[in-house]
């Protein structure tokens, strides 16, 4: 058995890379996969707080790379999940503390013991991005349906191809179906038309995402959340299952759905 190493990146900051990494980690672990998430955003670590594991950090990625601890010592186990671990980024160092070849060595060391290694990339196209994709087998590009985010996604997709890590797959995050319906937001088809890459997931804008990160409980743990379902679907696609995309513009049943539909019509 050997893990698939997946890097989650975007170019632009704030589109949801860290949230995506945390939720895919949780969703894959729920499918009984052995998962380790690595935060490569050295100096600006955040995956720890989004996963709710910030109080348990002793060692970090840079300690491992510099040989100050063993790999296992830096791996924080998420006790809520069967097999989910986090390797946090160092907070007081910078990107130059790690090189792309360090990352290749690290991911190779993790491969035999896991099903998935998820790497949370920093924003940008510099050293941190190079570190993040160095060991990757597959790259997921997260974007939002807005001009600046799609433009940066296009740039990143080109760089991923140039590094022979392509073709990347797309996660379209923060979709607002009501805005798409009235022509004020790029639709999934519009974004795919412009970027010309494969789609692996659509995640709706959902308040439960913020509530989840407030609490340190990724929304994929919430059975009732629509965004949580979207992440669980991406996780299943990553395991090779053919899962249809949720049509968020479809009228939703139930009491709240009916109310939402009344407002949508207006």
């Amino acid at each position: 058995m050997s893990a698939t190493v997946i890097t989650i990146t975007s170019g632009k900051g704030g589109v949801g890379k860290t949230t995506t990494t945390a939720n895919l980690g949780v969703a894959l672990a729920q499918l009984n996969k052995r998962v380790v998430c690595i935060d490569v955003d050295i100096g600006l670590r955040n995956l720890d707080v989004v996963m709710g594991l910030e109080n348990r950090i002793v060692y970090d990625l840079v300690h491992v790379i510099e040989g100050q601890c063993r790999l296992r010592q830096a791996m924080i186990k998420d006790k809520r999940m069967p097999e989910l671990y986090l390797i946090p980024a160092a907070q007081t160092r910078d990107k130059s503390a790690v090189s792309p070849s360090d990352m290749v060595r690290l991911t190779d060391e993790l491969r035999p013991d896991f099903d998935f290694v998820l790497i949370d990339s920093p924003a940008g196209i510099e050293r941190g991005f190079r570190n993040a994709i160095a060991g990757a087998d597959k790259v997921l590009v997260v974007t939002n349906p807005e001009v600046s985010a799609v433009r940066d996604a296009d740039r990143i997709i080109g760089l991923v191809e140039a590094e022979r890590k392509g073709p990347a797959q797309l996660i379209l995050n923060r979709m607002r179906p009501a805005m798409v319906d009235r022509g004020d937001m790029l639709s999934t088809d519009d974004v795919l038309d412009v970027l010309a890459i494969d789609l692996i997931g659509i995640v709706p804008e959902d308040e439960s995402i913020l509530v989840g990160s407030n609490r340190g409980n990724p929304v994929a743990m919430d059975e009732k959340s629509l965004a949580g379902q979207a992440y669980r679907n991406i996780a299943m696609r990553l395991t090779g299952k053919d899962i249809p995309f949720i049509d968020f513009s479809k009228p939703r049943n139930g009491f709240l759905g009916k109310i939402a539909n009344i407002f949508k019509r207006g």
Partner: protein, 89 residues
């Protein structure tokens, strides 16, 4: 289809404008050809073609296009019919 087309027909939604702007900006991002250089390229291409054939300079459309992540330079240059071919009819 250009930005102007939207204003001639039905009213453009903001996402139509977003998509059109994105397409233009991505073509220039990926090819690294700034609009001013594109203009010069266009003029030089037309000068060369004008040496050999007769065409209407105003009817020419030279643009960068993109399909499936490949950029291409597309030139549509409608030629004027020569007097000889007209006589044949």
């Amino acid at each position: 289809m250009g930005i102007l087309d939207f204003f001639n027909g039905t009213k453009a939604t903001s996402k139509d404008i977003a998509k059109e702007r994105l397409k233009v900006v991505l073509i220039h991002d990926r090819t690294d050809i700034p609009p001013a250089v594109m203009e010069q390229l266009r003029d030089e291409i037309l000068d060369v073609i004008a040496k050999y054939v007769d065409f209407d300079r105003d009817a020419v459309d030279i643009r960068l296009d993109r399909e499936n992540r490949l950029s291409q330079l597309v030139a549509e240059i409608p030629l004027r019919e020569s007097p000889r071919s007209r006589r044949k009819r």
